[in-house]
Symmetry: D2
Subunit: 140 residues, 4 copies
């Protein structure tokens, strides 16, 4: 399996199609079926007390698994999330960026399935795990 998009192409695609997340996410590493994405934590991601909110971690996992899928199917595929399951296991570190390691477990004709672990930068133990399914439109 080969990449159809590299990091630069993915970032350009994100900027054009999802301008509202510009600056929030950085792709740190990319390989076939795998990606590592960093969330540059900003005020909008925080709960009082300075920990990253659940919806922000959801958006990080969603973005990472989506990018791993896109890198394999190319920019034409407008995949949409159909299912997500998340476990929030520990409190994120206050004021730290978060990093997400995502991998695709299945890349089918119609469905892609991936899972992800999320860490606070500088911590050993994962803060959350997520698995998500994307529906890939038939017209690709």
């Amino acid at each position: 399996m080969q990449l159809k998009m590299d990091i630069a192409a993915l970032e350009k695609f994100l900027e054009a199609e999802f301008p509202q997340v510009t600056g929030q996410f950085t792709i740190e590493d990319l390989a076939p079926m795998r990606v590592r994405v960093r969330m540059n934590v900003q005020d909008q991601h925080l709960r009082p007390g300075g920990t990253v909110s659940g919806p922000s971690m959801f958006s990080l996992a969603d973005c990472a698994i989506y990018l791993a899928t896109l890198a394999m199917i190319g920019p034409k595929g407008l995949a949409v999330t159909t299912n997500a399951s998340i476990d929030f296991m520990r409190k994120p570190a206050s004021g730290a960026d978060m990093v997400c390691e995502a991998k695709l477990l299945k890349l089918g004709r119609v469905l892609a399935v991936g899972d992800a672990l999320i860490w606070s930068v500088g911590q050993d133990q994962p803060v959350a795990r997520a698995s998500m399914t994307y529906s890939i439109p038939p017209e690709r």
Copy 2:
């Protein structure tokens, strides 16, 4: 089972503890183990094309089930989400507010479990379903 907080008390609690969501959510209806919450859709909730994003729907379901729990255990309980499962079933209507009907299925000593359906206002069919688990701290 009786309510320990009414709509006014819940809204005051949200404002004090979660100031970053002020104005986003309106509690439309409250009864023991049930709540209906409206998301006043704003630019920050939207994807290009004007549909509400997945993370925004996640935050609506999370907020609604959390409020249903809080109404039963009172403001001292600092419940945290431990697990969430969501199915995104249809595209939200463009530019419409969203409404979430949440109910608690279990209110235990340690865990609360609820589920929720989300609609675009004015549409018949639900856009998403979610179920979430909250861990209730022992010190309550």
Copy 3:
């Protein structure tokens, strides 16, 4: 939306296609997008102590949502489960049959999504909730 199969047709289909579950499940009620199925609890479903096992409740929810889907798309559709999420909320009553109320929330061209509640017969509070997604093959 109309039923394409009635209770008798569904039971005949189950017997022919899933002979290993014969006698385990009874369809108690059927309407468009809804079904109620009873699990006739047998030794094979039990954990020591006499409570119904998790995998048995999984199979009950899976069967019920599958039957609700089949009733709408007809016997040709060989739907397969692609995702399942379950919350086990209470201990089942010892020695009691279980009943599952399932409803379809989405019946699309490619995916069907349903959810279900499971009770021990004679109890008020649900023992478990489940949501499942089925992939519907294109050739139907």
Copy 4:
């Protein structure tokens, strides 16, 4: 983190406490926070056509993550499954045993969270992934 039970102790516990699964599962490998369990596929696990059923894969993942937890907390802990999420990604190979690699992501005072991948023996690609949460009783 150290193991409190080895493979022999886990197998003895399973035999005593879950006699109905005797012979179904073999623990192939065990390390702190990790286990590999093989399901010796029998007629009762099969769907027509010879593929392993969804409930059987559920029971394999449930058993594996449970054993990984038990190995860490010792035989007194009567953990119960509170949440499970599974993605069925590919058809199991006909007539082949299945193997499950499970790891604990969190081992808390009250909750343990693990995930698992399941393969048909002899195949490269995983058939299913699962994540499960167990509630650990306070009295341990």
